[in-house]
Amino acid sequence: MRNKNLFENENVKLRLINLEYSYKERFASENANEVKKAKEDFAADVRRIYKEETNKELPKDIKIYTSKEILQNKDSSVKSSGYDGTAIYIQDKTHDTNQLQIISQGSADNEDWVYNFSGLFLGMDDSQYKATKEFTIETKKKTQDVKSLNTYAMGHSLANNNQVLVQLVDGEFDEVYGVNGAQISVDHILKADYKLTNYLKRKFSTIKISEIPKNDLKKAIIKYYNDKGVTANITQRISSNDPLYGVSGKADFITFGDVKMTNTHPDIKGFRSVIDHIPDEDVSKLKGYFQKYAADYRKGGIQGFTMEAIGVDMDFLNGIMNEEGTAQQIAYCLKHPARLLNMVGALDKKLPEFKAFFAKVKAYSGPVLNQLEANGYIDEAKKKTIQKDIAEVERLTGRLDVLYEKIKFLVDWKTVIFTLNNRQLSQSLMKNLIEFYSTYKALEEALGKLDQDTKDLLNLIGEGHSITPLLNALSKKKGISYKGGDIYFSKKGKDGKEIKVNLSSAIRIYQAGMAAISKIEAEIERYQRVFHHEIHDHFAIKKSELTKAIHDMEANPSRYQFDIQFKLASGFAGSNGKLNKIVVHDSYHTAPLPQCDGVVSELKKQTSSKKKFVKSIRASIEKLFDEDEQISALFDFKA
């Protein structure tokens, strides 16, 4: 089994994809030291995850390459390709291991999926394909012995689209693994693969691709890639609750590879049957319209989206409302006729579009909400609330439209000045503008309510797209679950209740605790050494110096004949006498030397009780899981 995929274990793959997301910001740092540290931490996490899942250790030689450094342009003004990913290069010559693991980053996990999805197939060209391929080419250059190198790709969401595309076009990878992935659309693959389009045009003897019946086209593409032998090593794990999977049922998508479905939420029956209530062309129409204001949606939710989509100049309307009395308000408009006209112009274009969009939303909301209820996403009460919200938005939009028609009747390029200068007409205009303003305000509020009432639903739908629920569903039988990158082990207690232990956290506490304790132990030892050196050794040195000096005096008394000390001692009595003999009565009295033994033993006692505590955490977890060897090994594992 030479060079077998080290990350064969699916939980390893899923956790690595999740892990890679979590390093996004640290890898993007401009500070080289920070990136270096991030790469070290990332490698340590990879080792830990691998150990936790397989109870084996990865080879020593692991290198990390980020898209940021690989695809960096000298000129910082150059737009990035938009590709984000990380490569792990693992080499171990003694075991014939030489593999490159490429984790491509999808649209950020758990973030606003509505926004992410709207952008998924935006501006479809082959640039994402090229960037993915570029990253693969450039990281391969960093590896040794490319001939024996195996390359594996894994990714979530949009990343799956890129990696499958690369795999289809030139069979780049030895294995491709995708989770809740975006599928390949016919349009997209046609733009990336010259050979495919050439083949199709020859096969069907057509000048344009559009002359080929849609179904035949799809079939021919699937056959082409299956025959080419590039689809057999694609594996996809998909949650039946993934909203992206729901959308992938639409006409233009092809799902390649071996697909394994998992239900991540026992009470929910998936999203596809919800989406199926909306015909293909309306899905793309609704999406196309939504995309126009997607940025506003991201900033301000459904409310922000609608306000921008309708095109009201709120600044201007506020300006009118701030004036006191109709005369002043008319004067304000006379001061800003262009703004009034611009707003009318914008409304003229945008309002009908929004009305058409919302009419579709309203029409589909019935069957869609029913299906959401049937599939367990919402209960009946929630459904009724949302229906009421939608009805209110529709009512207010209708009213807005009526008022707008009245306003439009009163002002256009030709009539604006005349209207504003005519008493009756201008008063009628103000009356309509003011009601327009209040209706608009009410609409704003109704949309805010709709936002609130659909929040949980959207989160629940979005959850189906993320990786962690899948990990949990896949590991349930093994009594393992995951949360925030940590692994949890579960066991039934004596009372039948489930005991859940955050093993990653316990290991962190154990390892950090043991590290801290051994640091304290080292400090105590150092203290002991220093104490000995500074007090005991110092005293001995001083004493021997003194003894030496005494001996010198006793041996050579004449040398001290004129020593001022002796003169002073003898009171200058024998100033002319000769110093014949010096006898020193030695006894060394000192202040009591500090005793360190007591302090040290106290410190040692405290440390060992701390050590016992940390060890007891480990012991009790080990005991709980019946001395599971794997768990034991994890406590000793150093990444």
């Binding site: 695809l71 501006g123 010259y194 083949y199 045009k201």
Partner: protein, 220 residues
């Protein structure tokens, strides 16, 4: 602001673009009579017999365009900023030869500045394993390759094609390049076809050589 209804520069837009003209006044060839294709035509002036000048939507480049060429929407795209793909086909009834062309413009992308990487990517997309001929021209480096493709599993007389593909990189501006693929094949099964590699190559070279970056026109 709204009072200035004129374009940004009155005198710049002196000549009326073909797309704004009455089709009756335009050359009676597909390049001008097809509504979508017309949008790409820079002028009604014939540059050389059978060829007009095309200008990309992002105004990133110009090139010769065969008079019987027609735009293909399914294979074209434009992100409105820095990437544009343009696909067109032309069919000559007399010779029964069809040309399927794709020209892709990229700017401000990291791979664009690395010709070696770019060619490796292009080779992958064409299923090609060979080398490229490099031709230095003023303002650009042209990388050119050729491949005869025979599809054995297609049960047709004309199951082959000649493809000419590669990359044109601007030497005057960084991060700017055009990728191309011109594929020639015989179209109608029941008609003779005079496709020859030599002639196809000549046409392909003519088109490739005509690709010109129009950097001044690019919006900064």
């Amino acid at each position: 602001m709204n009072d200035s209804q004129n374009g940004k520069n009155g005198n710049q837009e002196e000549a009326v673009k073909p797309k704004d003209m009455d089709p009756k006044d335009l050359p009676q060839v597909p390049a001008f009579q097809d509504e979508k294709t017309r949008e790409y035509m820079a002028s009604t002036k014939e540059v050389e017999p059978g060829y007009y000048l095309l200008e990309s939507k992002l105004k990133g480049f110009t090139m010769l365009f065969p008079e019987d060429g027609e735009y293909e929407a399914e294979l074209s795209s434009n992100n409105g900023k820095n990437i544009e793909s343009l696909a067109f086909n032309s069919y000559d009834k007399k010779t029964n030869i069809v040309l399927n062309a794709q020209v892709k413009y990229y700017s401000q992308q990291s791979y664009v500045n690395k010709p070696k990487t770019m060619l490796e990517i292009i080779s992958g997309q064409n299923g090609y394993k060979g080398k490229y001929q490099k031709i230095d021209q003023s303002g650009k480096d042209i990388y050119f390759a050729h491949m005869k493709e025979v599809f054995d599993d297609i049960d047709r007389k004309y199951n082959f094609s000649y493809s000419y593909f590669g990359y044109v990189k601007s030497t005057e501006e960084d991060y700017l390049g055009v990728e191309y693929n011109f594929t020639f094949a015989c179209h109608k099964e029941d008609q003779p076809c005079s496709l020859s590699e030599e002639k196809a190559r000549k046409t392909a070279k003519k088109l490739v050589n005509s690709i010109t970056f129009s950097t001044e026109g690019e919006e900064k």
